[in-house]
Amino acid sequence: MQMVITILISGILTDNFVLAKFLGICPFLGVSKKLDTAVGMSVAVTFVMVLATLVTYPLYKYVLLPKSLDYLQTILFILVIAGLVQLVEVVLKRFIPPLHRALGIYLPLITTNCAVLGVTLLHFTNANVSTFPLALLNALAGGLGFLLAMVIFAGVRGRLETCDIPKALQGLPITLIAAALTSLSFLGFAGLADGLFG
């Protein structure tokens, strides 16, 4: 139970994928302009993160490691993710059209989202993630952290729209500086996961 809480807190707050680990910056800056697209993208990312872990974790643990092929990790994982995204798109389109309409446009973008490849690779360096269910939970926490960062940032950007910004900073620069301040607020959670259980 302690593990579960630690993984959730560190994934969502202290080790937030976007604001602490700099993964998935492109969609974070690109798709966060409106709240509904931000939520749609995050849900799609979370979904693919969990699904990718479901496939890559056993593949690494039970196929690559015993055969000492672990150097193939990168190439195999990206192919699995690319294939999986295609598959999910086809399956959703065929069987759950409403969900496909909601998430469809975001799916092709996810292949090149480094947060997804990142989460599948990070399971093996995270000391808290020792079993398969915990890896799934870690992926879910990473996705939820992404969602939280996107939703908060969409709100911040909404406020920026109405501000009078110096010409040189308009567009991307002010967005990055706003991201710096958002990330600063997340620093306040530092040490929370370790301090919780002494």
Partner: protein, 224 residues
Amino acid sequence: MKNETLSTLTNGILKENPVLRLVLGTCPTLAITTSATNAIGMGVAATLVLICSNVVISALRKVISDQVRIPAYITIIAGFVTIVQMVVKALSPALDAALGIYLPLIVVNCIILGRAEMFASKNGVVLSALDGLGMGIGFTLALLLMGCIRELLGAGTLFGFPITAGLIEPMTIMLLPPGGFFVFGILVALAGLTGKRKKQGSNTSGCASCPAGELCGKSEGGTE
């Protein structure tokens, strides 16, 4: 012809600097620029992958059919990333530890896929190699600039040597994630100020390849 070769090489360094002008590859730019040494390591690793993948993709551009090109490119890039990963691990375990997960993540760096789609799939082998080299140098220089600023302000050192010891109190915040976003924001603003502002075309060209094209913020006008 000579002119074209030269401009292909220099294009990526200034006019279409992948980081500061096209704003591609932001994840490694923000993450590993906590020191100048890391920045150079990352830049060189990405440059090697960029040149190799550009050459191979350009050589195979008539063989790879249009529908499967993105998976084919990703496979080629992932292959070279794996090679670079093994080389770095063998040559410099310290650098490997410092770059950590961002080394395998070169696979999804949009600079590399972007150049494959925008340049290598349309041009000859030699030009593609030059384009890869130019873009790689541009990427490395931008990373180095970020790395120097953050290391100098955050730790008071440069390549590990103390510079401002006793003069300025180091601001650790510059080494933390907020500092990364902040320095990058300022640099992009400066790049926008110094460069030719009227040329809109070069801003969008880097992103035309990205599948995120229409959704992503670049359509709202990159550095403008």
